[in-house]
Subunit: 323 residues, 4 copies
Amino acid sequence: MNNKLFALKAGQRYTISPHLTLEFVRSQHSIIDTVFPVLHTPRGAVVYANDFKLDRTPVLGEPPDFARLRQLGKEGVLALIVESTNVSEKGRCPSEKIARDLVRDTITSYEDDKSAIFVSTFSSHISRVKTIAECAHEIGRKPVLLGRSMERYSSAAEQLKLVGFPESLSMFGNRRTVDRTLRRIMKTGKDKFVPIVTGHQGETGAILTRIVMGDTPYKLERGDKILFSAKVIPNPMNYGQRYLVEARAKMAGVRIFDDLHVSGHAYREDHYEFLHLLNPQHVIPAHGDINMTGSYAKFAEEIGYTLGNDLHILRNGQKVLIT
Amino acid sequence: MNNKLFALKAGQRYTISPHLTLEFVRSQHSIIDTVFPVLHTPRGAVVYANDFKLDRTPVLGEPPDFARLRQLGKEGVLALIVESTNVSEKGRCPSEKIARDLVRDTITSYEDDKSAIFVSTFSSHISRVKTIAECAHEIGRKPVLLGRSMERYSSAAEQLKLVGFPESLSMFGNRRTVDRTLRRIMKTGKDKFVPIVTGHQGETGAILTRIVMGDTPYKLERGDKILFSAKVIPNPMNYGQRYLVEARAKMAGVRIFDDLHVSGHAYREDHYEFLHLLNPQHVIPAHGDINMTGSYAKFAEEIGYTLGNDLHILRNGQKVLIT
Amino acid sequence: MNNKLFALKAGQRYTISPHLTLEFVRSQHSIIDTVFPVLHTPRGAVVYANDFKLDRTPVLGEPPDFARLRQLGKEGVLALIVESTNVSEKGRCPSEKIARDLVRDTITSYEDDKSAIFVSTFSSHISRVKTIAECAHEIGRKPVLLGRSMERYSSAAEQLKLVGFPESLSMFGNRRTVDRTLRRIMKTGKDKFVPIVTGHQGETGAILTRIVMGDTPYKLERGDKILFSAKVIPNPMNYGQRYLVEARAKMAGVRIFDDLHVSGHAYREDHYEFLHLLNPQHVIPAHGDINMTGSYAKFAEEIGYTLGNDLHILRNGQKVLIT
Amino acid sequence: MNNKLFALKAGQRYTISPHLTLEFVRSQHSIIDTVFPVLHTPRGAVVYANDFKLDRTPVLGEPPDFARLRQLGKEGVLALIVESTNVSEKGRCPSEKIARDLVRDTITSYEDDKSAIFVSTFSSHISRVKTIAECAHEIGRKPVLLGRSMERYSSAAEQLKLVGFPESLSMFGNRRTVDRTLRRIMKTGKDKFVPIVTGHQGETGAILTRIVMGDTPYKLERGDKILFSAKVIPNPMNYGQRYLVEARAKMAGVRIFDDLHVSGHAYREDHYEFLHLLNPQHVIPAHGDINMTGSYAKFAEEIGYTLGNDLHILRNGQKVLIT
């Protein structure tokens, strides 16, 4: 294809045709600079809300544009296509601020420690990487990003000026430079660095996995720390791989800290607030298997929607005619 | 008995006999003004450490006296009697600061809401009560403590000048005044108050339970909020009672927020740090059934202690001779 | 209403109108004498299959009529309305024969024991009650049914000649006769009886609950046995009530045996077999909330049905037009 | 070493020295021909009871020698060293008869099926292998043992005349003959055989794993069946590996049946009966980490033993002096 590419920022609109306009409304998620795409039609707006949370105290960027969302609700939302991932979680999704405090409390409590401090998180989670790097800086250690995806995401975000890292931060992507850096850390002193690495799911070939398996120049010792700023993606294979990595690390006397993390997906009461802001005529839960979309449907029925009437469970490729 | 009572503050010592001195070292826990009692004997110090956490950013009072603990470790600790409650929890126990942020994020996100906001927490958890009262104040609502134990603990703490509450706070303990207050709230407007109430475990007769069961002048309505700043104490009866309360509340259209809470007990890595600070010759895990003390024993064996040698599992009333 | 009542047996048909005939096909479930109602229409048969299992070795009655089900599949089934309760359970639902062996193995292993043996099960589960009564008889004890529903279900089944119990069995329904019987057991000797009682969910007022709470003339002692031939219906309130009953019983030194039970509902592979027998054009999962019907839908999609096409999730009262 | 080897059968004794006699008492477990070794000393008998269950209806061999155990209790047991594996499981461990009925009910329900039926179980569990082979024979299929350990254990048991298999059974251990056999089954017809294979834990390199991964001449198809007559040994790595095997098999349309199994280890009430039979002066829980031995200690304390007095938790290599 040879379509033109436009850059559309949060808050901006693009006229597609006389009857269709696309608008981007500011959102928040575990990746940076996210938006709710809104398609304005003659019959009302169609809001697409997958991968979002209603974070009032984000670490990067502004909170979601609550004022515009409320206004959309008043103008009339024909349909809301909405993620159902965490609708079964009670209450509200904790803010990224909570994750920052968890990470910070742990890292800074080892200010006087001479052991290694490794942190593994999602490479795409730029605000988290920034938090970790800043905490490293705060206790006088150099943050070092290690791993192909770590390097790719963070350098892209930095080049787009979407994030600023501490000046002492460095990053290395390919295996040769990663191993050379690990050798340098062993020589210079473990207590001079906080390596931020791939491997929180115990993936074969990821940096943390290779280190733990003894497959790099780095030697783990009694008292070294590994912080997981991520949760295990719930799936028995991930649990198995992660268990293996932790078990090996413990055999070397390493201390484990996990779940220094919050979700990037709206919880049940965020969805409740969201429905009240937008007041959509029709709701289409998405982004999940039928157990998730079904749970959203149960939730929406409690609020007053009716399955098959103004609440629709669709499969990929299916169409619904809204009249 | 007719023994004299002494007030001993954290940091002070009391000479019991020529060979025995009692010292109080500042600690942190989910109740205020806690200490580690340390008994100095000719053979070394005996440290008693039940009900504590190593909170570096507490909401009330100062962090534990790490400097003195480190010094005790250097002077020589003969024996440590230590709680084992949360030794199976990975990592470090989150700071009370995290609980404050979770509570604050939730309450303040309903600044413009007209519905009720109830919060239930442990009556004895004064710093939490203070947090909730301050958040209520911040969104322009009056905090009202309701329930016999709520009134007793908080008024005692206030009289001892261990805590300062917002001036708008009021408290009512007995059934008659509680019900009168609830009637007044119904008249004045639900959106003028944040009642802080007993009943987070769904206990029969507690304020929240009575409200939910329709046994007070207060009427719950669609959109009212109940925040649990507590976790269910793990026991099937509590789960059952709490479930019943939540189920009834949901039938009235109430929104539930739970687990706005952190523990008051040291986690595994807090114990690791604690052992390294004190370096005790003997360790006696306590404050838990044999599954808990057994888990602590496993943890201590990994670090180098040996069960039956310098690590002792005792039952209430049993003695161990340390030579 | 003044409609006539017909008795229709498994294997029989009833002509409702020139175009509609009702047929009953033999089934199996945790209650006796169950059938699949089949409505024959000009467009094909509509099979209604709620509350069933494909038990090839039942304790009462014959296995389901597999031959007729297979034949229906060949004649053409327009629609199957089918329970979804246990579709998430792997494999096949164990036969009632397994429950009988579990109960029998436990009871007969106490042939020489002098302590009490109580058994609690579902009053409506006549084949289970029969099993328990026969095992009691086998070790030389008299089976005694206690509790209002116990008496009602079992006496009805006996009068309808749907079951035969050992001659030594007696049954008592109301509180006065139950308590008198318990007093008699205390006098005559606990080792002469196996009381079969209500209360497996820890229900307040049920016989077992009253006995455990000390609210009858019966005194529990060290070594007495309570067998639960039922599982806790999954709901936190039931778990709580049951826990309370077990905790109290244990304080008296009573030994607990639970889960001497199998389900009465088809598992995933029973559903697989059932779909292959009937080969229905349309499938409508029922008898469960949307998480259960949703799970059935996932299962049916793996086999080749398509949601919204020949697979329909309906709410009570909704209609679907099959063309 | 050059020590002489003696064969000592259940029921026999061997005089070691003037004061020490070794006796073997018949037991039951998931391996064949197991015994309780009993060391007779001048101070009483020392009974060693690891790896046992009190199965009254075993599939191979006789039930445990209850009469002799009771007699030992009367003669005087100084100490019992006893497994603690399943002491937290309520009730009694189900008999191997239950496993046989579960396996038989599943296999025979596919008597007319043309698809594959694979069964995987513990190679060392000879009575289970016998059950599976007999069920295969019963529906007119040839049982084929595949896998190195399958072949080794079963051929040894057969040569020692500890088991008799159906005549149609064959077994193949090494990779070449296994693959050749699988090719032959593909040619002759899947419905002519029941392969009994290694791989129930999803182990890399085991027969079932190789088949599912497409690493043998065997092609899995829609409707083929895999029966797991084993439970997953609880460990996240096993769950992960097993999940992977099941997920791959399901992608090919294979139907999964798991947990056609019972444990080989005594449950809580078996331990209760065992203590009452032997009435030991001292009890030493073993065969488990401190959480298991601790759970046994809790159980024994409820019955009247006292930790540190007549109940001892020891670590490997530790000694206790019983006086």
